[in-house]
């Protein structure tokens, strides 16, 4: 893989506060790099820096051969799509052509590219419509066509679908994924919605408070978060501090609040860790029923503290010397006759647990 953008030792400050502090971030050619994180993580600031619209306090951003980020020639190698389509007054086709006109592209070429991208985004029938009369989804399609028709080396997208309703969002995500697959367009895609990131990205960079916590393949970040913050962000609801007690063949035993967990890991005894366990990986059994032998080695006696109905699923809050959350289907919850105060056994596999090493071994 060839890198297209290299960010090193980047720092951005605002009013004396550090809002972005990245040691290294490299964007590979032809990849869709999703940047996720909660509000205030510095995602949009990162895009502004890459777009050449924001001064940095320190560091380098190397993009192809352009030395100066604020240079017009640099800006013209990048196109942007924002949360709000920000269309100009005038027709759809004039809007799509606007970036090409700024670049002085000839009329024939403009016509060709505008027609092509209107077709790709299924908006050819809107060509003569005025921008003010479009729906949110249509306007965002125009905004995407306007960015893609510039055929830039890099496209920056800042939460492009976050203001759309869910069905429109899903439809656009599907179309965008298809376009990325067909064109091999390199893109940095910022979102606070992890599911959106999973649907669209090749790799994902997770930011918290201006710092990069993890950068990896999307599926790997999902299964192997490397900080408790990332774990919580990717949906791991049970994050329990513990310590590796002993090694047993390919397993380790981790002690947390008096309970012992068998985990597939090669960490050495004495290492302090966070035990990460997804609620959907926990199976519940009635105390009275004997749990059948299976590969699930971990069994915890728990007490139900709260039940929350969530459509087809029920979220079960448990107490086992520490708090634990499980997700069961509604029929299962009914069959188990779950209610607050009931004693149950929580069962989970040794492979379902992911361990995050804490920074200090003390």
């Amino acid at each position: 893989m060839t890198s297209i953008l290299e960010i090193r030792d980047l720092m951005v400050k605002a009013d004396g506060n550090i809002i972005l502090d990245l040691h290294e971030l490299v964007v590979e050619k032809n990849e869709v790099l999703v940047v996720v994180g909660p509000n205030g993580a510095g995602k949009s600031t990162l895009l502004q820096v890459v777009a050449g619209l924001r001064k940095t306090s320190r560091g380098t951003v190397k993009f192809t051969d352009s030395p100066d980020l604020r240079d017009l020639a640099y800006r013209r190698k990048i196109s942007t799509v924002y949360q709000s389509p920000l269309l100009l007054s005038g027709t759809v086709e004039n809007n799509i052509a606007s970036g090409l006109k700024f670049r002085g592209v000839n009329q024939q070429e403009i016509r060709k590219r505008v027609d092509f991208w209107m077709e790709q985004l299924h908006i050819s029938h809107l060509a003569k419509r005025r921008s003010g009369s479009l729906s949110g989804g249509e306007a965002q399609r125009v905004s995407l066509a306007r960015a893609f028709c510039l055929q830039t080396e890099l496209i920056l997208m800042d939460e492009p679908f976050s203001s759309l309703d869910t069905p429109t969002q899903q439809e656009l995500l599907g179309d965008l994924r298809d376009i990325f697959t067909r064109t091999n367009q390199t893109c940095i895609y910022v979102t606070h919605d992890l599911e959106e990131g999973l649907a669209i990205g090749d790799r994902v960079a997770v930011l918290f408070k201006g710092k990069l916590h993890q950068l990896d393949r999307v599926s790997h970040v999902f299964s192997h978060p490397n900080t408790p913050e990332v774990a919580a962000f990717v949906g791991v609801e049970n994050i329990i501090p513990g310590k590796v007690e002993r090694k047993l063949d390919d397993l380790v035993q981790v002690k947390a609040n008096g309970s012992l967990f068998d985990v597939v890991s090669d960490l050495t005894p004495g290492t302090t860790v966070y035990i990460c366990l997804r609620p959907e990986d926990i199976t519940l059994y009635n105390d009275s029923v004997e749990v059948k032998p299976s590969s699930a080695r971990n069994r915890l006696h728990c007490r139900v503290t709260q039940l929350i109905n969530q459509g087809p699923l029920t979220r079960v809050h448990l107490e086992a010397g520490f708090n634990l959350t499980a997700l069961v289907t509604r029929p299962s919850a009914k069959e188990l006759e779950l209610e607050a105060g009931k004693e149950v056994i929580a069962v989970f596999k040794s492979t379902a647990i992911h361990l995050i090493e804490t920074c200090s071994d003390s």
């Binding site: 619209l53 017009l72 606007s98 970036g99 510039l150």
Partner: protein
């Protein structure tokens, strides 16, 4: 009431006779106010754009000053310009007092704050993210400003209408710095004042109708330009 009716009948006769003095006064009014408006826009549009878009320490002060200038009384402007252009004044050597150029100078001072102030408010009404989007689309600074002017064109033409309206209708400054000299600096408004003071209501009404008609025609043209859909 009879005065008014007689005046209107006489005015219509005057208008259709094409009195050369009336034609001359009308053309001079149009030329003086047209040039003053043009200069005001040439100063006000860039100045307003600068103040709307560039952040600097004393910006608020300058915007307040411009906004105050929008309500500047023409007689005060007339007084200041007279002092400067008076034979013994700082710019007396230019011999501009009681010339059409002096009226243009006074009218520019009256109308450019309007042009600048309305430019500021029209650009500030646009979504501030639009600038970032335009730069993101590869616009140069000039292309960005032109695109923003295009987006704000309705309000900017309103600024043009307001600037022209403020000068074609003012009388105080034109009287003071122009002197209402027949054949030289007499414009529609000063002529109306003169005719009224002489009791020549018919002439005053005729000139008023012309003034209103002229204002309407110019505003109609500008409004057509403003409301035109591309």
């Amino acid at each position: 009431m009879q005065n008014l009716i007689d005046g209107i009948i006489r005015a219509i006769q005057l208008l259709f006779q094409g009195d050369p003095e009336v034609v001359r006064i009308t053309l001079l009014s149009l030329a003086v106010s047209g040039v003053a408006t043009l200069i005001s826009i040439l100063i006000g549009l860039p100045l307003g754009t600068f103040l709307a878009m560039v952040q600097f320490r004393s910006r608020q002060f300058w915007i307040s000053l411009i906004n105050t200038g929008m309500a500047l009384p023409p007689v005060v402007v007339g007084l200041v310009v007279s002092i400067f252009l008076w034979r013994s004044g700082p710019l007396g050597s230019l011999n501009l007092i009681y010339t059409p150029a002096a009226i243009v100078i006074a009218q520019v001072l009256i109308s450019f704050p309007l042009a600048a102030g309305l430019t500021i408010s029209s650009l500030q009404q646009l979504d501030p993210r639009l600038r970032v989007q335009l730069l993101g689309l590869g616009a140069s600074k000039i292309q960005m400003i032109l695109a923003l002017w295009k987006e704000a064109r309705l309000a900017l033409v309103a600024a043009l209408i307001a600037a022209f309206g403020s000068v074609i209708s003012e009388v105080g400054a034109s009287m003071m710095v122009g002197g209402n000299l027949k054949g030289s600096t007499r414009v529609l408004t000063t002529a109306i004042v003169l005719e009224t003071s002489r009791g020549e209501f018919a002439s005053a009404i005729a000139l008023s109708i012309i003034l209103l008609g002229l204002a309407f025609l110019v505003n109609f043209a500008l409004t057509t330009l403003q409301q035109r859909r591309k």
